[in-house]
């Protein structure tokens, strides 16, 4: 009988980099903020820029989250998603303008109530539109990416033109409600009030979304559907119905994002959704198509990057996002948090 082979298992601890690697995407946000701090060298400006970057990121996240979920669940890529942003903005701002007596009063409660009504109006409108869009535009071209891209692009054109028919071709300027105007000073940095509201709303939406996805049965089915749709159907769930629900919810969120974006810019045009789409696409690509968490991190990165670069080198602002996307795709070709498909 021969002796047992020499066996000496090594019990080395995982190196720091190995342990950090899975959390790298989450760590990128503070890392970028730190890099911005080093580059700007002025705490007050840095704080202002960081808050506005976070606010922008939150708004992009709200607009992009629906798109990424719809893709993850049904493999449907909706190039017309920007239409919901535009429609949300126009409906929301129209409601706000109707409620002029509430928005011009210097009362925080009245102002917030007006904004809330505007948001509800916008979300109802875009939700209904999402339902119609799914039925008319998307449903006939399931499983056919090329046609999906073409048809949803066509839908975007039609909706954009209809907005021009209904609201006129001119840009509409308006004022934010009284209580959301102006800035507060914190540690020597001027921070616009509205941006703080945007950050709060964005965090609330993200938290709610995570709770729905991780804590409820619907969320469980949605997550399972993203991973393996056929299996979920085989277990007897009507995935198609869930998908329509997710599509409507995503459209309504895009509408919410549209209202917030409009209040941020204080001007709306029929093409604003189309412009927002560019950032939305960058965000969902670097986040990993189908991943809500990735989308959130990606949106924050894009928002921060855009604001830092616009401060340091204004002309490079748009290019900076492309550069960010290229870098991240070189590092992780499927995006930061790729969705694992069981197939």
């Amino acid at each position: 009988m021969s002796a047992a082979p020499e066996h000496a298992p090594t019990m080395a601890r995982l190196s720091l980099s190995d342990r950090l690697a899975p959390h790298m995407p989450v760590l990128l946000v503070p890392l970028l903020a730190l890099a911005g701090f080093v580059a700007i060298m002025n705490p007050a400006s840095w704080l202002t820029l960081t808050v506005s970057g976070l606010a922008m990121g939150m708004m992009i996240f709200i607009m992009a989250s629906g798109l990424t979920l719809v893709f993850g669940l049904m493999d449907v890529i909706n190039f017309g998603h920007g239409a919901f942003v535009s429609v949300g903005a126009f409906v929301g701002i129209s409601v706000l303008m109707l409620l002029g007596h509430m928005t011009s009063a210097p009362s925080l409660i009245l102002n917030l109530a007006a904004v809330l009504l505007a948001v509800i109006g916008a979300m109802l409108a875009t939700g209904a539109m999402g339902w119609a869009f799914e039925k008319i535009i998307v449903a006939p071209v399931y499983g056919h990416h090329l046609k999906q891209i073409l048809v949803t692009m066509g839908g975007l054109i039609v909706v954009e033109q209809l907005i021009i028919v209904l609201w006129g071709p001119e840009e509409i300027y308006f004022n934010r409600p009284e209580a959301l105007k102006g800035a507060i000073t914190f540690a020597g940095a001027a921070i616009e009030k509205y941006r703080l509201v945007a950050v709060a709303v964005g965090l609330a939406v993200f938290a709610a979304m995570r709770w729905v996805l991780r804590g409820t049965k619907i969320g469980l089915i949605v997550r399972a559907g993203v991973e393996n749709g056929e299996m979920v159907q085989a277990l007897g769930y009507r995935l198609k119905l869930i998908f329509v629900g997710v599509f409507i919810a995503g459209s309504a969120l895009a509408g919410l994002g549209g209202v917030m974006w409009a209040l941020y810019q204080e001007v709306i045009t029929a093409h604003m959704g189309n412009h927002a789409m560019i950032l939305i696409f960058i965000v969902v690509i670097i986040g990993g198509l189908g991943s809500v968490e990735g989308c959130f991190i990606g949106a924050l990165l894009v928002g921060l990057m855009q604001n830092y670069i616009a401060f340091l080198e204004p002309k490079a602002a748009l290019i900076s996002n492309i550069a960010l996307m290229v870098t991240i795709l070189m590092w992780r070709p499927m995006g930061m948090i790729p969705v694992v498909k069981a197939k």
Binding site: I77, H145, K147, V151, V158, I164, V165, I282, N321, V326
Partner: protein
């Protein structure tokens, strides 16, 4: 002879052959059949858009890849010629260098974008091109020192291509069938010949073994990969080729207009126009580009007047005049576009070929 010129890809349908022949004849003799500044300008635009749309079809119809950066490549070619003509002085050498540099740059950029996106998923390509194209459009309008910003660049082409250059004074008394023999006529034929050569070259490409593989990948990329074709290489090569040809079309456009600006060569509207032309004409058949571009440019120039007239007719009704006004023609094109993707995915050419 014609067969080998068309690389064996004949129209295969009598009505289609007649329509294509008609378009070709009208374009070849446009300055003589329809003398007039506006009509010749329309004919030149049709020639250029045929090439541009065909190069897009090479990507969309044969490769099955959706790109939103085609106007960017078109613009690169146009700006290439404009920049060399501005800095090197007027001359054919400036045009040639500008066109080649533009095509090279477009191909290089397409290679980069393609390597980044196509190796993962073909669907990334559509999104990334959209982002890159809009960034480039903004960049061009911001770098006003180099590109003239929003105003664009006006430049001089060789004297031989301008209206001041006259020829044939002794032989024909300066006129042929009542048409003045001047540089503008030569410029038109410069554009026409360039467009025809590029179109025939593309026909050659799509009917080569390379084109076959592209179509196989479009139909089933997984299977093509299993047979042993490197799908990514073929897709990237198609992207580069299509970008280079789009850039050359842009150079022709710049030579014809003697002007480039962000709105004329880089705008998103042109991208949407190209998409409509490809889909309406028929994807996956270069002849579709010919029909689509011709119909569309004609409609763009003449249908808008008609819509204006219709809008006047219904002036008293609510909302209808708004819907029918000439500025809203994109709305109806959008509707037409969606309907044609659903009901005529093969476009006009596909329909005609089915009947044959």
């Amino acid at each position: 002879m014609i067969r080998s010129l068309l690389s064996g890809d004949t129209p295969r349908s009598l009505p289609l052959a007649l329509i294509l022949g008609g378009i070709l004849l009208c374009l070849a003799l446009a300055p003589f059949l329809f003398p007039g500044v506006r009509t010749v300008d329309t004919a030149a635009r049709i020639c250029i858009f045929i090439v541009l749309v065909a190069s897009y079809d090479l990507l969309l119809g044969y490769g099955g890849i959706v790109s939103f950066a085609h106007t960017m490549f078109f613009g690169i070619g146009a700006y290439g010629v404009a920049l060399t003509s501005t800095h090197m002085g007027r001359g054919f050498d400036a045009i040639a260098i500008g066109a080649l540099a533009g095509a090279g740059l477009a191909a290089a950029l397409a290679l980069l974008i393609g390597l980044f996106s196509l190796r993962v998923r073909a669907i990334f390509f559509a999104m990334i091109t959209l982002a890159v194209a809009s960034a480039v459009a903004v960049l061009v309008s911001q770098l006003s020192g180099l590109t003239g910003g929003e105003d664009g660049l006006t430049f001089k082409t060789p004297r031989e291509l301008g209206p001041a250059f006259k020829f044939g004074k002794e032989a024909f008394d300066g006129r042929l069938f009542g048409v003045k023999l001047n540089g503008k006529l030569l410029a038109y034929y410069f554009v026409f010949t360039g467009a025809a050569l590029l179109f025939l070259a593309m026909l050659r490409v799509v009917n080569s073994p390379f084109g076959r593989v592209l179509q196989a990948i479009r139909e089933n990329d997984f299977r093509s990969e299993s047979i042993g074709y490197r799908v990514v290489y073929y897709r990237v090569a198609a992207t580069c080729l299509s970008a280079a040809i789009a850039a050359l079309a842009g150079s022709l456009y710049a030579v014809w207009l003697r002007y480039v600006g962000p709105d004329t060569v880089l705008s998103m509207e042109i991208m949407i126009d190209i998409l409509l032309m490809v889909v309406i004409g028929g994807m996956g058949t270069l002849y579709g580009a010919m029909i689509g571009a011709t119909l569309f440019v004609l409609a763009q120039n003449y249908l808008q007047n008609l819509m204006g007239a219709a809008s006047h007719l219904v002036e008293d009704l609510p909302l209808l005049p708004e819907l029918l006004s000439a500025d809203r023609w994109l709305l109806w094109l959008g509707v037409l576009f969606v309907l044609s993707v659903y009901f005529f995915p093969t476009g006009i050419v596909g329909r005609l070929r089915e009947k044959a």
